[in-house]
């Protein structure tokens, strides 16, 4: 048994300090010390887990907001729908995602998504599912709509679109949650002439080439 005695550094005689080395401590006690250090460090650094909707200022950095009740599970899967002769695939995954930047933030169970669009002639116009990007995917959610909290939404931020994004109202259409509708709403944004679509949008008053339907019903595959 190790007998601990409280010292301040100044109280330790120089002579005694010189013998404070591992050679004078039995091996089993060294292992015990290492175990204690490891355990205490592990306990201290253990990630705090909170329910998905927990809120509060005292939640420490790097906490984990976990989908304890599995409310996100119905969204998970590959969803398919038709739009103007095209076939839309949307793969949604539940991922423990780090929400934050520069190492500061919290982990959270989120629904991430990527899409695949197949034209009527069978050619593929977009396929991000094959290389699903779990760091910066095109779809991220699920959250409550600000103006109608019972309505769930997921954000759609297509690549190379001058940061143009949309919020999609996402609604299950049946009790079994095998069908869902998506309703597309543009988020406000700014644009300048450095955007390649500046003329299209601001001069010709056309839509961004988002290549995604404004409204669609998807069926779980």
């Amino acid at each position: 048994m190790i007998k601990l005695q409280k010292f301040t550094l100044a109280e330790i005689p120089v002579k005694e300090m010189s013998v404070l080395n591992l050679k004078n401590i039995p091996m089993k006690n060294i292992l015990l010390i290492l175990l204690l250090i490891f355990t205490s460090t592990h306990i201290y650094s253990q990630q705090q887990v909170y329910p998905l909707h927990a809120e509060g200022d005292d939640i420490p950095n790097n906490s984990y907001f976990k989908d304890i009740d599995g409310e996100l599970d119905p969204y998970v899967g590959v969803w398919k729908g038709d739009w103007n002769g095209k076939t839309v695939y949307l793969e949604l995954r539940k991922v423990k995602y780090f929400l934050g930047i520069n190492g500061k933030g919290n982990y959270r169970d989120m629904i991430l998504g990527e899409r695949k669009i197949i034209n009527s002639d069978g050619s593929i116009s977009v396929d991000r599912i094959s290389n699903f990007d779990e760091q910066v995917p095109e779809f991220k959610g699920i959250y409550s709509k600000f103006s109608n909290p019972s309505q769930k939404q997921i954000d759609f931020t297509p690549k190379n679109m001058c940061r143009k994004s949309a919020s999609l109202d996402i609604t299950f259409l049946d009790a079994a949650k095998t069908q869902m509708s998506l309703h597309f709403i543009y988020n406000p944004s700014t644009i300048d002439n450095s955007c390649p679509y500046y003329n299209l949008v601001m001069v010709q008053k056309q839509d961004f080439p988002m290549n995604f339907p404004k409204d669609i019903v998807l069926t779980k595959q």
């Binding site: 959610g141 409550s144 700014t190 644009i191």
Partner: protein, 469 residues
């Protein structure tokens, strides 16, 4: 105390007087021996009561106020001779600089402008022999540190910082300046905005090809002997004998006895008049539309100083055009009903962009602001005080994408929680900004319907208020 102030002012005047001539190449001639510049001049600061006792002066100023200061709105037709130079100005009569020289009296009034112009502006009136007044508007584009330098009584090279605007209806009949240096008095025609060279409301350029015409020296006399040393006599002015120049200086920067008070609060207070207020009023009528509206705010080349340009909108895509010009330093925009009634990550990034733009174009950083008008009636403004812009970076597209997700999804901040008080959104936004988009020196203001501004800040995680005086 007053004597010291006047001594400081005198030193500042060393560099100012020369610019009454719209010339820069004469500058070096008059700065070698500052004492010579002022040996024949007497400086006084007049109170309002003293101003009222000077025959005709206060009446002239009131005449300017009543008939010439241009106004927008229903009552504007009541004013005759409205002068675009004076649009939205407020002439301050409590602290007026009087400079007496060779029997001439020049009165310098501080001017504030409702458009929120940050330049130092003065109305300078010279009393003519016949009792009439000649007037010009002097505009000094100075940074905060430059104002401090002048306020402390140090000399400052004002090249390209001074603009002179003759006021038509103030009977600017003479453009003659006399300058005494030692025994010698040099008299010359200034060429200020000579006829046909500059349209009304445009300043004289001090340098470059477009500057006012080359000054013509009229005479050089030795005042010690009274003899004319030379008489070049190139008299281009209709009435050279009415000359004598305008003795004035930068009035209203601190060295005149006022405290330097260019705090964000004082700037907001000045801003909440006139044109800016009209824009806010207009935008408040637009928050019911399902799209954003806004104005880009830029420095203008005219005397009005500020240009508000409504941002065009691609309605179907909810996109507004927002390009920074090298004169842009502010923006006002709306949020509509379905948006969180506080700044978004994109808004904060735009504020950083405005700061960087101002920094890169030598616009005083304390001028930079971003205003948000919300459907719930709240009006917020981000503005800076001592921000280290050189070490500030605009967030990348990827970072903003993640920050937008954090803003919407992280329930620790819960910014998208509906039906909360404005205080809730203020506090949660400040926590979010502190943790993810911190801009040291940036301040967040709430401006109520009575135009009262209050700084909202965090102490720990507690929201605090600090009302502007």
């Amino acid at each position: 105390m007053r004597k010291r102030i006047l001594v400081r002012l005198s030193l500042a005047l060393v560099v100012i007087f020369t610019f009454c001539s719209c010339r820069t190449d004469d500058f070096s001639n008059y700065t070698n021996n500052p004492d010579d510049q002022f040996q024949n001049r007497k400086f006084s600061v007049l109170t309002r009561k003293q101003v009222e006792n000077i025959g005709g002066l206060i009446e002239k100023v009131q005449n300017v106020e009543n008939n010439m200061i241009k106004e927008n709105g229903a009552d504007s037709f009541l004013k005759i001779n409205q002068d675009s130079l004076l649009q939205g100005t407020l002439i301050k009569k409590d602290s007026v600089l009087l400079i007496e020289s060779n029997g001439n009296e020049t009165y310098t009034f501080k001017i504030s402008r409702s458009s929120g112009s940050y330049a130092v502006e003065n109305l300078v009136l010279r009393k003519n022999a016949d009792g009439s007044f000649t007037g010009v508007l002097m505009k000094y584009d100075l940074t905060k540190s430059e104002r401090e330098i002048i306020g402390l009584g140090h000399s400052l090279d004002l090249t390209n910082k001074v603009q002179v605007f003759p006021i038509e209806n103030l009977d600017m009949q003479a453009r003659i300046v006399s300058q005494t240096s030692g025994c010698y008095t040099v008299t010359w025609e200034t060429g200020i905005c000579a006829s046909g060279q500059h349209s009304y409301g445009q300043p004289c350029d001090l340098v470059g090809e477009d500057r006012a015409g080359v000054s013509q020296i009229i005479s050089v006399s030795n005042k010690c002997t009274g003899a004319a040393v030379s008489d070049i006599s190139v008299d281009t002015d209709d009435n050279p004998n009415a000359g004598g120049g305008l003795d004035t200086g930068v009035w209203g920067v601190g060295g005149d006895g006022e405290l330097l008070n260019n705090t964000p609060c004082s700037i907001i207070k000045q801003q909440n008049n006139g044109v800016y207020k009209d824009k806010i009023k207009y935008l408040k009528t637009k928050t019911g539309d399902a799209r954003e509206y806004g104005f880009r705010v830029s420095k203008a080349t005219t005397v009005l100083g500020v240009q508000y340009q409504e941002l065009s909108n691609a309605v179907g895509t909810n996109t507004i055009e927002f390009k920074f010009f090298n004169t842009t330093y502010g923006a006002i925009h709306t949020h509509f009903e379905t948006l969180v009634p506080v700044f978004s990550p994109d808004d904060v990034n735009s504020f950083i962009g405005l700061l960087k733009n101002a920094y890169n174009n030598n616009i005083p950083l304390e001028e930079v602001f971003l205003t948000l008008v919300n459907p719930d009636g709240t009006v917020y403004q981000l503005r800076g005080d001592g921000i280290d812009v050189a070490n500030l970076e605009i967030f990348s597209d990827t970072a903003i994408d993640i920050l937008n997700s954090t803003y919407k999804n992280d329930t620790k901040y819960n910014l998208t929680k509906a039906n909360q008080s404005s205080e809730y959104y203020q506090a949660q936004f400040l926590k979010f900004m502190r943790d993810y988009m911190n801009i040291p020196g940036a301040k967040f203001y709430s401006i109520d319907s009575d135009d009262k501004a209050t700084e909202i800040y965090l102490s720990g995680n507690t929201r605090k208020r600090n009302e502007c005086p």
